[in-house]
Symmetry: C2
Subunit: 338 residues, 2 copies
DNA sequence: GTGAAAGCGCTAACAC
DNA sequence: GTGTTAGCGCTTTCAC
């Protein structure tokens, strides 16, 4: 059996509670006793038991990370690793551990979240997606459980949730305007899954920019796809089959853009000569495409970092006021636009 | 306060222990009582507390995932998301949760692992890397703590550790032979960090193949780089500066190959016309490069899945015999070789 | 088949 | 400043 607080107490000739106080570094313990106790801990090789502590404390010092169908599509996208990197950094700084959701379907995920909450597995939750008709967020709100959303709540009172997001509407609008400034009027839009709020925001920004410029919206210029790699390729086929082809493309995601570039190359359409492309995210490999892609850097790492900061704040201050953090984006101009 | 086993017991007119047995679905409880208890649980909205259970049980039903400096380099590589996808799947199937390491340096990671082990945070550990002079593995062995390595132990008695790996030596050898069959004799090698065992194995396979073919090894054809994206590009500069340039390249990682392709394109070196390339991993976007890359599919998902299977086996059967699992690899021929 | 009670290792009143 | 003690919510002997 492992060495416990009691063993240490005996060894140091103090009460268990004193040892506990030394662990917590209570100011009410004299330096002398602290030293004595610490020495005893060293000698015996004492290490606190997390479960006991969590049970007594009702605090686990771990954060739950909830991803959309964790195993299937999510992880194909470098967005998630990168956002977790940001989370990880802040969590480590603050002494928190990370617990990962593993469910595949929406139901499984909801079940897992319930376990995390009811089972006292985590102190707070980071929601890495925001989906239309999501069940998880309403549950968390109803339970009044600390959580932070990366993204934007949809069909839910914004005042009820703390979230960290980009201004995706504006980003898409800017990007569209940028293409128009370059002289493009026939701008195609390759969006992601319409169940994700980010997709909706992108589309609205695109529409708004066109409308402001009095360019009529063409439904056939808009294609949505869930799959990242094939998605991009399929979309290109659709768009290039239109009689009056677009001269520029806005693509939801850099990874998709790889597929788009590939397909265009196969079709012998030159980028940026015959087709300009701009996309979103600026993941690491975005600068490794040929041509390198112009894309919106959404500062993924920061999204994770900030969200974690908010969450830990919420956990520590019970009546932490609801907060919205908008992480700025930045258009990174490379070679794919003309 | 949440509803506990006692509340359920009262409601169902049984003892707490009975409720516990119903949860465990003990065969010694009559169907009638089971029904009654379950109904009470439903009515009260009972959910078991994990920490209490773990404390009493000495089992957490969670697995620790340990990555090399989690936040920095690791996650840039799609290898990790993909292997976690495999882990995640098996873990979910078996009712295990996942706990992620967040440390940045080797020391931090060792500390975290100690916490996981001593603190009873996890039932077992998945080591996602195998590094020369690693401290974590010796610790785990010394503690006799259940763990499975993805990769191959180095400088450690193989009989002491269960591991899941590819035959990286053979893969590299095959790949080299493949290039030689295509007529290449001047084959460059762009390897990863030499502290990782996989790099060593790749190199040995490469050397062996050359030696078998009586082609002298040229040190200047071998370059190592840690960074995935710039790494590839830097390496190309080095190799292309050699008077007698290689005509083929073996690259440690698909992501690196993106950098290599980019740089070669910039230098106006045609692939596969002037240079053949083959790399390792076959991550999702590997089929989206131009030209598409020939690469060794190492079945990353399976590595994670199998390792998790082994680990859970080890956890459940105390004297589970040490096991080595070699996941087969497969050369995926695409357009980058000639 | 079911109940009573001890105990997992720790924290936090409450005493002194 | 430090000790005593009662839990935290669950499992698991040991009775009956």
């Amino acid at each position: 059996m492992a060495v416990t607080i009691k063993d240490v107490a005996k060894r140091a000739n103090v009460a268990p509670s004193t040892v506990s106080r030394v662990i917590a570094n209570s100011s009410r313990i004299s330096e002398k006793t602290k030293e004595r106790v610490r020495e005893a801990m060293k000698e015996l090789g004492y290490h606190p038991n997390f479960n006991a502590r969590s049970l007594a404390n009702k605090s686990t010092k771990t954060l739950g990370i909830v991803m959309p169908n964790s195993a299937k599509i999510a992880f194909q996208n470098p967005f998630f690793p990168e956002v977790i990197r940001g989370i990880s950094m802040k969590a480590y700084q603050e002494g928190y551990g990370l617990y990962l959701s593993t469910g595949q379907t929406e139901e499984e995920i909801l079940e897992e979240v319930e376990q995390m909450v009811y089972g006292g597995r985590v102190d707070g939750i980071l929601l890495l997606y925001s989906r239309v008709n999501d069940k998880v967020m309403p549950f968390l709100i109803e339970q009044n459980f600390p959580f932070v959303l990366i993204g934007r709540p949809y069909n839910i009172d914004e005042d009820q949730v703390t979230y960290v997001n980009n201004d995706n509407f504006k980003a898409a609008k800017t990007v569209t305007e940028y293409l128009m400034l370059l002289g493009h009027e026939r701008i195609g839009f390759i969006g992601g899954n319409l169940n994700f709020v980010v997709t909706i925001d992108h589309m609205k920004g695109y529409e708004q920019a066109l409308s402001n410029a009095n360019i009529p919206l063409r439904k056939d210029y808009i294609v949505h796809h869930e799959e990242l790699q094939e998605g991009g390729q399929d979309a290109v086929i659709e768009l290039m089959s239109i009689e009056q082809r677009p001269t520029a493309l806005i693509v939801a995601d850099d990874i998709m853009t790889f597929g788009v570039l590939k397909m265009l190359a196969d079709m012998n359409v030159k980028v940026p000569g015959d087709m300009s492309i701009v996309s979103f995210n600026n993941v690491m490999i975005s600068e490794l495409s040929s041509p390198t892609m112009t894309t919106v850097d959404i500062h993924i790492y920061e999204l994770g970092f900030e969200a974690t900061k908010c969450l830990i704040g919420k956990i520590n201050e019970p009546n932490f006021s609801v907060k919205k953090v908008i992480v700025p984006h930045k258009l990174v101009k490379r070679e794919s636009c003309k």
